[in-house]
Amino acid sequence: MRLALREALLAFRRAPMLSVLSITTIAFSLFAFDLFGLVALNLRSALRQVESRVEIRAFVAEGTRADAASAAVGDVQAFPEVERVTLVSETEALDRARRELGEFEDVFESGILPASIEVRLREGFRAPDQVRAVAERLAQYDFIDDIRYGEEWVEKLYRLRTIATFVGIALGTTFALVSIIIIGSTIRMAVLARAREIQVMRLVGATRGFIRAPFLIEGLLKGLLGGVIALGLSFVTYAALERLVIQAEFFGFGHSILGLLAGALIGFLGSAYSVDRHLRRVA
């Protein structure tokens, strides 16, 4: 293993231009990958924010006894999907309307706004079907007059998110494949540059694993290094955008580590592919 590591590091020193070229290529393909990841990340967090505003509002019929409404609030609170239930009385509704629409304060007279039960759903229970299901259960109380939960709005939001997810996965996979191919071909150049060494290794009876190890380590290191550079470039881009254009979010620690590991994995796979192809051809 020490020898394999030494050979891998030696490869960097023996062919510095080729190494710089492959690391740069890897860095840029991973950079493209990271940028897309950032877009997806920010889109998702924006969607999550919008989603958190999804709310069901059930209007209570006039003349309903307060204790009936309160009992219903207790029941609804017990639904597993429900995060919070609030009973908004007629007076509270009026206060709120006056506060929010101050200039029309005088327009509102008491009794004009109905009392309502406001339901917020837990995260993960905000999909259109789930919202509808809760709304339907609420409608079963006979003192409920009307229910609003922005049906079309919720559905549109969800469709957008689904599209974003699919596009993200498709583009992400494409970029990952492109990265693997690019890394594969730069490692291939490295393999060809060392074809003589491989030939001698095989000749004197080095095992296949032994021959592959330095290349795999080399690919792994290049991928990792490319990943670090890509992450750095993404951060610079993010910082510039953040300052100049729009408030955004950057990868957390976990995502950053995941990105680096992905780089290392891509480097590893790319070089495994190249070395195996070469060994198959010469064997």
Binding site: L3, Q199, V200, R202, L203, V204, G205, R208, F210
Partner: protein
């Protein structure tokens, strides 16, 4: 085990239908020295490649140091190769390493303990009479010296059998002679040697066994002359 190599009706065909070897059978014993002769394309290199499993026979059996080609698995190939030494016409040295490093490389990549590497390298460098050139890189050495380094590399794992494919092909007559002398010395120390060459002058300078190939067929084996009177040189009267 007294048999180093045994070919039993070995045929080798290449994809485009070229027959490199046609039902070749022969045996090479422990400690023996034999030449493989014949014109280019006669199949000399194919025989060597089949022995060190660079290629597989199309039919027949190749048995090398007890390992049959019929039962050989890819995992066993490196194990077998460690018992063999191979040298080529073009030396196949690594240009960016010194003579000593080239030899050490063969030990390193087969997992030899580091403490044993230097003494062994020194020993084989002495054996090929290149001790003072240990730190020279291949381009600083003459052709004959480069071949000596290649031979030292082939010897460093103490092979039972040394295969040499036109080892003198790129050398002037004097260097060729000295390489042959070196191989004879190695053979005297117990290593079996199979050397492919088309340099008949070199072959005639010795009394070693000669196997002659023609169009992939074994047409002459000097070891069978006494026991098998029908063996003929090509162009001689067929029996």
């Amino acid at each position: 085990m007294s048999t180093m190599v045994r070919f039993t009706r070995v045929t080798k065909q290449y994809p485009k239908g070229v027959t490199a070897l046609d039902e070749v059978s022969f045996q090479l014993n422990r400690g023996e020295f034999a030449f493989l002769t014949g014109p280019s394309g006669a199949g000399k290199s194919s025989i060597l490649k089949l022995i060190f499993v660079e290629e597989y026979a199309t039919s027949g059996e190749v048995k090398v140091i007890g390992q049959s080609s019929v039962t050989l698995t890819p995992k066993n190939i490196p194990v077998l190769r460690r018992k063999l030494g191979v040298v080529f016409q073009d030396f196949r040295l690594l240009p960016d390493r010194t003579a000593a490093e080239n030899i050490a490389f063969a030990l390193e990549v087969t997992g030899a303990p580091p403490s044993r590497i230097d003494p062994k390298v020194l020993r084989v460098l002495e054996q090929v009479d290149l001790r003072e050139k240990a730190e020279a890189r291949p381009h600083e050495l003459s052709g004959g010296e480069q071949q000596r380094v290649a031979i030292a590399r082939a010897l460093v794992n103490d092979p039972l059998l040394l295969l040499a494919d036109e080892p003198t092909g790129n050398l002037d007559e004097r260097s060729a002679r000295s390489i042959l002398d070196l191989l004879r010395e190695i053979n005297r120390a117990g290593t079996a040697i199979l050397m492919a060459t088309h340099d008949l002058a070199l072959v005639r300078a010795t009394s070693f066994r000669t196997l002659e190939l023609h169009h992939g067929r074994l047409v002459f084996d000097s070891s069978t002359i006494t026991s098998d009177a029908t063996a003929t040189r090509p162009g001689g009267s067929p029996s």
